[in-house]
């Protein structure tokens, strides 16, 4: 009986994805939604590294996928945050409810 197993690593990874999905569905601020996406990506990265260690001990394919993933995460954060800044500059409001009414005339 050991704790440091592939099953436990994948459980932590799945829990991170579920926590991130909860934040994605529940938080109203767009910044918090982007942070929840980072939590989900973090869980996926953990699964990559865990599979690489427990299943493919001869080469670092999972580490390579991790690097691709943080490249994507960096670009996503940069573009998403610049969109948040533009929305804040135009509407002074970055909640999801305001974004759902984009393009409508202010009542």
């Amino acid at each position: 009986m050991t704790w440091f197993t592939l099953a436990n690593c994948l459980t932590v990874s799945l829990l991170l994805v579920l926590i991130g999905a909860f934040g994605l569905l529940r938080r109203r601020s767009l910044i918090l939604v982007l942070l929840s996406v980072e939590i989900i990506l973090n869980g996926v990265n953990l699964a990559f590294i865990a599979f690489n260690y427990f299943r493919w001990g001869s080469e670092e394919a999972g580490h390579y996928l991790y690097m691709l993933s943080i490249g994507v995460a960096a670009v996503e954060a940069a573009v998403g945050l610049s969109m948040v800044i533009v929305l804040f500059r135009n509407y002074r409001d970055i909640t999801r409810e305001r974004i759902a009414r984009l393009g409508e005339v202010e009542g």
Binding site: V12, L18, R26, R28, S29, A78, M83
Partner: protein
């Protein structure tokens, strides 16, 4: 088999990651959420080091916590949202409805967890375990040899360099978003004019 030091470190780090991520999602103020997320990357990095990925663990701190999350912190400080206003689920707008929605989402995700986690654990515990047999596995030397060795017919080299194009597109998009002045409108053509 007795529990080793790696087991205890993994258990502590895994519990810390899950608790810190939960507090990120539940925290009231966005600044606190971001700082808690940065904090939660430290035990993740510890798990990576336990999984013999020391370079990835360093990248997690340097790039993720140091660059990407600092970007979030800067943006939050720039637009300075008031803490608590409309942040806590169930306290804005229609309280009862919002709280019921939160409970439904929680119920849905708990159900998904109960459906998904046991088969994943069962499958993972029945897979044969391959042991790491490469000297210097996960180190910078071994990793760069894996990605950049023999670049003429190594597809990983090309796809790794293609990330730079992705980042370039991201930079152009961000600059385009943040331009203040409107681009000069094209002069409308009059009908009948060539």
């Amino acid at each position: 088999m007795p529990l080793s030091l790696a087991d205890f470190l993994f258990a502590v780090a895994a519990a810390a990651v899950v608790l810190l991520s939960l507090s990120v999602v539940l925290a009231r103020s966005p600044v606190r959420s971001t700082l808690l997320l940065i904090l939660s990357f430290v035990p993740v990095s510890l798990i990576y080091i336990l999984l013999r990925a020391p370079f990835v663990g360093i990248l997690q701190i340097l790039v993720y916590a140091g660059a990407i999350l600092m970007l979030f912190t800067f943006v939050i400080m720039m637009i300075n949202p008031e803490p608590g206003v409309g942040e806590v689920p169930g306290e804005a707008g229609k309280p009862g409805q919002s709280r019921r929605g939160g409970f439904l989402v929680f119920l849905l995700l708990t159900g998904v967890g109960f459906v998904l986690i046991p088969p994943v654990r069962w499958a993972a515990s029945h897979l044969p375990v391959a042991t790491v047999d490469k000297p210097g596995f996960g180190g910078l030397n071994s990793l760069s040899r894996f990605i950049f060795a023999d670049p003429a017919d190594n597809p990983l080299t090309v796809s790794f360099e293609l990330i730079s194009f992705l980042i370039l597109v991201g930079i152009i998009a961000s600059i385009n978003f943040s331009r203040r002045e409107k681009p000069a409108a094209a002069s409308p053509r009059k009908p009948g004019e060539n």
